[in-house]
């Protein structure tokens, strides 16, 4: 029941800011596609670079969409609007509030990815996006929504949200298998980067887009992040002395 309430709140927000959300979801990925995909035309692994890039951009869009939907919003609600107080005092179980935020955030990430898929649909790439691709997008979105929740509970000021984006989202966008394969990285660094959630999500979506089935390892990594950060956010909301 509490989950539905949070999803309703997210829907109200989405309905009102539909245009802004859609434009924000489009701009960066579209720039990357134009510059790296169409402007600098090249090949990767013997295929057009766009075939490599589009799955990475889709995975990245789920990350940025879900992360920004939660990090910005929760920081403002907690520290500026104090709207979180209304949740804390209500009888809605707080774990349901967290779960609603995670699902709502992930759906926003999927919407951002959906926008990219629609925009790239006219380009005849032959890439495959099936139910499993969307499941991975959703899972990736839940991971970054939980990370955003934890960070927003740690934020000291609502201006911290853009900093989190600079520290976490931007480096991941460039390093984690979006624009180039992690295989080309030096040993050691490569292993660390490939264990980050976006690397795994990109790799799995890219594997499916090439008509193959991804291995289970990527799911294990994403689920591990989801469980760890989900648990931390639940512990924070129940036990953090000063929310």
């Amino acid at each position: 029941m509490g989950i539905i309430t949070v999803l309703w709140e997210k829907w109200v927000e989405f309905r009102r800011d539909f245009f802004k959300i859609t434009v924000a979801a489009m701009i960066s990925p579209l720039m990357y596609l134009i510059i790296f995909g169409l402007g600098i035309q090249t090949t990767s692994h013997g295929e057009p670079y766009l075939n490599f890039l589009i799955p990475g951009i889709v995975a990245m869009a789920t990350m940025t969409g879900s992360f920004s939907a939660i990090a910005q919003n929760m920081s403002v609600q907690r520290l500026y609007e104090r709207a979180l107080d209304q949740i804390m005092v209500s009888p809605t179980p707080l774990w349901q509030f967290i779960l609603g935020q995670v699902i709502g955030g992930s759906l926003r990430g999927m919407y951002a990815a959906g926008v990219i898929l629609v925009l790239t649909a006219p380009i005849r790439t032959g890439l495959v996006f099936n139910t499993l691709s969307f499941a991975i997008m959703f899972l990736n979105g839940t991971v970054f929504a939980t990370i955003a929740l934890v960070l927003s509970f740690l934020a000291k000021s609502y201006t911290d949200a853009p900093r989190f984006t600079s520290y976490i989202i931007m480096p991941m966008s460039f390093l984690c298998n979006t624009f180039f394969s992690t295989d080309q990285m030096p040993a050691g660094f490569r292993q660390v980067i490939s264990l980050l959630p976006l690397s795994q999500a990109s790799a799995m979506i890219r594997t499916i887009s090439g008509g193959e089935r991804p291995g289970a390892f990527g799911f294990v990594v994403l689920l591990a992040y989801l469980i760890v950060f989900g648990a931390i956010s639940v512990v924070f909301i129940y036990r953090k002395k000063n929310l």
């Binding site: 104090r82 107080d85 209304q86 209500s90 009888p91 809605t92 707080l94 002395k241």
Partner: protein, 277 residues
Amino acid sequence: MIELRNLTKKFGDFTAVDHLSLTIETGEFFGLLGPNGAGKTTTISMMSTVLLPTAGEILIDGQRLDRKASQQKRKLSVITQEYSMRQDMNMDEVMEYQGRLYFLPRKVIKQKTDVLLEFAGLIDYRHRTVRHLSGGMKRKLMICRALMIEPEILLLDEPTAGMDALSRRQMWNLLRKVNGDKMTIVLTTHYIEEAQALCGRVALVNQGKLQKLDTPDNLIRELGPFAVDETSQDSLVSRYFHNRDDAIAYLSKAGSDAALRATTLEDVFVDVAGRKL
């Protein structure tokens, strides 16, 4: 009944609330008064579980209150000092969100929203977003939101801050009415006359500690119901007397700038706060 038992809250080395113990009976209109930084808002925040105590506990009807205590939280509604609302929602959405958080059916939410917004004179502005409301309108909306769930306990942290005199009086009447319906009300306010007009009992706190706890009349009686104000060039000094004859005798010896009046709760407040400052 609400019981605060040795309630303590520390922020680092600073103790905001220091072993506060008191009991608030069901249906009571209770005031929590103190100077700025006395720990009033921190106490209300702990009673609404936004802050967790460093030590001590809060019981509602004998059951410990914490963030998992949905049964106890269902009885509570809070009006915070800040406008704790989504600024980008309109009034209908704010009310619906509150109703949903308390599991009210949508039909009931709609009916109550109509009644409460009409009652508060906000019905014509129901589609206006919170950020476009005046301070007074936001306050009224917060009250509508709090009353929507018909709480057994209403926590009010400076509920009339920013309201004009007329709106404040309307608010007093509303609070008297809901308290008459057996709602327990805990009020913090800077307007001491507000506490004197509304509260059956008041607790005076300073530096996180309970200083006095009694009815306003008893507190005034204890200080002395007759006050003589002596105005000098740079200060106003008040002296309190337990009988009128003593006050008049003092007045006759004092200068021409002295005046006799009835002691108020504000005098008690200033006396308690002033001693510690």
